[in-house]
């Protein structure tokens, strides 16, 4: 087990170096001079320009710059934003809880609906429910989610006025963010209606973000269930006279969960990072929107730091899934 863990962590190191290098290199080849962007429309004198260039180290050779950046990363220093002048690291961790909250809600939504849908479809294979669920899953899977978001806004925010369009909570509520998780903070703040407001803001983004994982989970659960249902031990269980509900829920579902868990794990990684479209549309103040805004503002340190942090996060999630998978399934552990 230790050896397995060790080998997985060893491959992590060169990938991390590569990720840092790529996110760094991208920014250097971006057209446009960051210092001129900083100066804005006022312009600046030649001397001031040279001074700033030296201050940020842009006059150094490429590899020297990378070395300084990389040693900075190892000390937890990712540079500071051109726009807000705050360290990239701090900005990331103020915004991260918002993304995490949204991703977790999206995931819970997807699992709660996707798993039963897959099971029901597999058990009623070829019948009405199967067809209904699987064709909806295919539609959801093909959904351009930015359009789906707009449609939901038209119906629920526009016509029905049930939900707000953007943000995390109504502006009338104010409390210091203790954890950054709005649901928790709102519940603890003790202000009347705050929690409800936070929930209402969360509903549409959750729906939108969870749609594709929902479809993937439903399809995966169905095919895994079908495979398991054909096994001998299921026939044995049936022959023993166990009630079908018990066979499906206990015997079959448990064994078909392994591929489903992998899919869930992999989509957590993409959800954490891939909330770009959802966050942009709903003005959700998380890291996806932060990245998009920074790209448009040409805020280089943020783009390069954020890109790296997000990739590292995805890598950590994938590594965890990998290791967990090895823990659950000894076959995998032996093979590697």
């Amino acid at each position: 087990m230790l050896k397995f863990l060790g080998s997985r962590i060893l491959t992590f190191v060169p990938t991390f170096l590569g990720v840092a290098f790529i996110s760094f290199a991208f920014i250097r080849v971006l057209p446009g001079d960051p210092i001129i962007v900083m100066a804005g429309e006022r312009g600046m004198s030649e001397e001031r320009y040279a001074e700033l260039k030296a201050q940020f180290g842009f006059d150094q050779p490429f590899l020297v710059q990378f070395w300084e950046y990389f040693t900075g990363i190892l000390q937890g220093d990712l540079g500071q934003s051109f726009v807000t002048k705050r360290p990239v690291w701090d900005e990331f961790f103020t915004l991260f809880p918002a993304t995490l909250e949204l991703a977790l809600c999206g995931m819970v939504f997807a699992v709660l609906l996707g798993l039963p849908a897959g099971v029901i479809a597999a058990v009623n294979r070829g019948k009405l429910w199967d067809r209904l669920f699987m064709s909806s899953a295919l539609v959801a899977y093909s959904m351009p989610i930015f359009w789906w978001a707009l449609l939901l806004i038209i119906v629920f925010s526009g016509h029905l006025q049930w939900t707000p369009v953007s943000g995390r909570i109504d502006l009338v509520y104010y409390f210091p963010d203790a954890t950054g998780f709005m649901l928790y903070d709102a519940a603890v703040s003790g202000q009347k209606g705050a929690l409800w407001s936070a929930i209402r803001h969360l509903i549409l983004p959750t729906l939108v973000l969870g749609t594709i994982p929902l479809a993937v989970i439903a399809r995966q659960t169905r095919s895994a269930m079908l495979e398991v249902l054909g096994e001998d031990y299921i026939r044995t269980a049936r022959a023993k006279g166990l009630p079908p509900a018990r066979i499906n829920a206990v015997h079959a579902l448990r064994n078909s969960l392994i591929p489903v868990i992998t899919v869930i794990g992999l989509s957590v990684g993409t959800l954490l990072a891939g909330a770009i479209l959802t966050e942009t549309i709903f003005s959700w103040p998380g890291i996806g929107k932060w990245m998009v805004d920074s790209i448009f503002r040409r805020d280089y340190p943020v783009v390069q730091g954020g890109l790296m942090l997000i990739a590292v996060m995805v890598m950590i999630v994938n590594l965890t899934v990998d290791v967990l998978y090895g823990v659950i399934n000894p076959k995998i552990r032996k093979r590697s």
């Binding site: 971006l30 057209p31 093909s142 351009p144 930015f146 359009w147 479209l277 997000i310 990739a311």
Partner: protein
């Protein structure tokens, strides 16, 4: 509006075809090399692919487009780069399993050179999963291109690309539902059709993966 939508179909299919061709060709060649190369080169290639895969695809495409400057062509290049590692992995995996087989050894004994071995002997036997992947990534390419257009990093207005049309229509959503609805329906229907085709292809070409 209708004519813009019909015109938009051209862009989407154009994007899909070019992106998949570029990504698949590049990916197959790199994957073949990785499959046949000495261990160190194989490790190096796969490590680089892992690095690309560690970035969320849309984010990476977004940054790439920011580097290259927003336009439809650059969006296509970015999406092709992001999709390519999947082909590399797939090709390498099937090359590695095919290489062990007797017919490859016999071809080698018969004096086939490395190039012939790679492209004539082994490649045709690896194509089935790659074709399925191509069909499925065709729809991914269309979706990603539309998403980039929607974020203002793909085709620039007034090009009637579906994603760009959606972005333009965003400010009118509460007054004119149809300007938002129809470009989206067009994307959805196209992607759905391609996914259906991909599922069918998988069943036909790859009986092992067939979902019963």
């Amino acid at each position: 509006m209708l004519s813009r939508l019909i015109m938009g179909a051209r862009y989407s299919f154009f994007v899909g075809i070019i992106v998949v061709t570029v990504a698949a060709t590049g990916g197959i060649i790199v994957g073949l090399i990785a499959g046949f190369a000495p261990r160190w080169l194989d490790t190096l290639i796969m490590r680089v692919m892992d690095i690309i895969l560690a970035f969320p695809s849309l984010l990476l495409a977004l940054v790439l487009v920011a580097v290259l400057g927003p336009s439809l062509v650059n969006a296509m290049i970015a999406i092709a780069i992001v999709l390519q590692p999947h082909y590399v992995r797939l090709t390498r995996a099937s090359v590695l399993s095919e290489r062990q087989k007797d017919y490859v050894t016999s071809a080698r004994v018969a004096g086939a050179g490395l190039g012939r071995l790679m492209f004539v002997t082994v490649l045709p036997n690896c194509l089935a999963p790659i074709i399925v992947q191509a069909a499925l990534s065709f729809s991914t390419a269309i979706l990603d291109a539309a998403a980039l257009g929607f974020l203002g990093m793909g085709a620039q207005p007034p090009t009637p690309e579906w994603g760009t049309m959606l972005a333009e229509a965003r400010e009118f959503i509460l007054r004119a539902w149809w300007v938002v609805t129809f470009p989206g329906v067009a994307i959805l229907v196209t992607v759905l059709a391609i996914n259906l085709m991909g599922d069918g292809l998988r069943d036909a070409l790859d009986p092992k993966l067939k979902r019963s």
